[in-house]
Symmetry: C2
Subunit: 371 residues, 2 copies
């Protein structure tokens, strides 16, 4: 199987248009993956998610490993069945969550011992375990186990993390036994160009199905992120998908696509949706604002989502105001659809050869429009 | 327009099968109305609600009057448009909520002054205002303003409430100006047969589009409720719909249908759904229970709802366990569908002439099945 086909390249940037073939279906790239951390995208059903145009979602092995446990998911037929989502799923290996959510008890070259953020129970994760867990979950794309040092750490710590990330990637590849599942490696190295280069070079030698850029969107800021992505993408093979983990705001996504990224995941559409922050092509709209009290407009004109087709801003503002779940639900639906419309527009502009012009206009409208 | 047609009567009980024609569509009776207190049925979209088979919903004037206010709803085109629900809506007059939620500041024969439960602001509600509010909301069925004394109050207080309820009903009828909207009167009188008779008699003389039995499901218990309903329904005209307010559990509904009730509303499907309590034809299922951890069954076998078609008990238990909104959402969808399946079965049994036999079997299975 050719897992990834590039169908078109942009003339004015490094943006690429492609198709990712997975065991559970096809994904048009550049693609945005909504996040279903613990097996559910917060606040909506998989049916509603599908209606937003999402073709692939992300779930977290770390969370699923702790609750309900891999055995429980395997016994009901795997992750797709468990989540009620019969389409592509990418799972994160747990590397990021182990470092961001848990009390670490011990880390060495072999693996990580940590205390569960749920109940403090000691759990051990190494490359082989992380791979086996994802094999058993039956996701379409698995990720290697990586070490994610905090932003701003010393070069020495960063170098150690890169070394481990490389060694663990090799062990993940050796342990990977699910032929229906792709395995992507994760490039670490903070915002240090040399470390990124070293990490990418070693991983590319091992020939993975795709490559992710990890360790960004952790506080380094848009400029540093953009520089690092721009530096790293040329180090990755042209014919493999490239995934920028945990990113991001529309401006970040557009910049990263222009630098040659194909896949994204981020919690912003749902997290912001729950907090009454709606994304639109004219910039954010704060749904709690009093100015919406009599507003008969939808969240966004010309949006084809269920919320915009059936509800006024006045009604959605009211639902937030009285604490009705329907406010967060409708705004999450809109935001998820916004992200898919954004990606569809990006794909269209790449094909039309005018991504750069469009991006400039989009970014100025978005900055002007915050209401 | 003939608003209500009886299509069939049960031979073994007073149960009736009918059709209610409203400005926004037809309702098959006996019917169950999900409750959208503040303009939303908690946790689900109107699209999902429609998929459960609901033909009519209830909203509360009291809540909508306080937030967002009737002006705001009128300016966006009325309640149907505001709620995103293009099908029949019944609104309660606010009588019940004024007594159950607010600090009363003054009540006399003219009306009620109360402090809003939201911000303590003084609000005045009388028969004319309650009617005008519902006229302006544009609901399909409006309710008269009634006085709801607490269960167990003295006969003197009950008599006073009945007198006011009758006088206010007359004033509501005189103030009612929306020809597309039906107006139902509410029979009060607690569990006192004479007061119920007196109230029903006076209201029936005024010739309303339908009659509700209010002031039950307030702590009197199943037996008292059943006795009162059985006593009251023969006092109401055969050719008008009868609505038992705020009821109830499946056993209550079946008993009340057998006594000649056509319409019901209750928060139980969603409130219990949020608390992991699932209704089934074999009795309740507690979705948080550990026994479901590996359970590949749906909530209920043979249920055609979205939750049962796509999720195992194991997954739904997990969603509750980790605090994912999808647990309450799926269980609410199932419960709402269960209530519609219950009503469809009741309608079918009335037509088939074997309601009593079926009810007996249902009630014993339901009592046996609590897991």
């Amino acid at each position: 199987m050719t897992c990834f086909e590039l169908t078109c390249k942009d003339n004015t940037s490094r943006a690429r248009r492609g198709v990712l073939n997975t065991a559970h279906g096809v994904v048009q790239t550049p693609a945005f993956m909504p996040v279903g951390t613990a097996g559910a995208v917060k606040g909506i059903t998989p049916e509603q998610l599908r209606q937003t145009g999402a073709e692939i979602i992300l779930a977290n092995s770390y969370h699923l490993m702790l609750r309900p446990g891999i055995d429980a998911i395997e016994r009901v037929g795997g992750l797709h069945s468990f989540m009620g989502w019969n389409a592509p799923i990418l799972t994160d290996s747990g590397g990021y969550q182990v470092f961001s959510l848990s009390s670490l008890t011990k880390i060495d070259d072999n693996g990580i011992e940590f205390a569960s953020h749920v109940d403090g129970a000691k759990v051990y994760l190494d490359a082989e375990t992380a791979t086996k867990i994802q094999n058993r979950l039956g996701c379409d794309i698995a990720m290697t186990l990586d070490e994610c040092p905090p932003f701003g750490c010393e070069t020495e710590q960063l170098q150690l993390a890169v070394n481990r990330t490389i060694r663990w990637a090799k062990r993940c590849k050796d342990a990977h036994t699910n032929p229906k599942q792709m395995l992507f490696a994760i490039v670490q190295g903070g915002i240090d160009p040399q470390l990124r280069q070293q990490c990418a070079k070693q991983l590319v030698k091992m020939d993975f199905d795709g490559y992710a850029i990890g360790g960004l969107s952790v506080g380094e800021g848009h400029e540093n992120m953009f520089k690092t992505v721009t530096h790293t993408t040329p180090l990755l093979p042209e014919d493999k998908p490239r995934y920028l983990m945990g990113v991001g705001m529309p401006a970040d996504i557009i910049a990263a696509v222009s630098a040659g990224i194909d896949m994204f995941d981020c919690v912003l559409p749902t997290r912001n949706g729950r907090n009454a922050f709606a994304f639109t092509f004219d910039g954010p709209v704060r749904m709690r604002n009093n100015e919406h009290i009599d507003d008969v407009q939808p969240i966004e004109k010309n949006c084809d989502c269920y919320a915009c087709g059936n509800f006024t801003r006045a009604a959605i503002r009211h639902f937030f105001n009285v604490g009705e779940m329907l406010g967060p639900i409708l705004t999450s639906i809109h935001n998820l659809r916004f992200y898919q419309r954004l990606m569809a527009e990006i794909r269209h502009r790449i094909e039309a050869g005018n991504l750069a012009d469009w991006a400039e206009k989009f970014l100025s409208a978005e900055n002007a429009g915050d209401s």
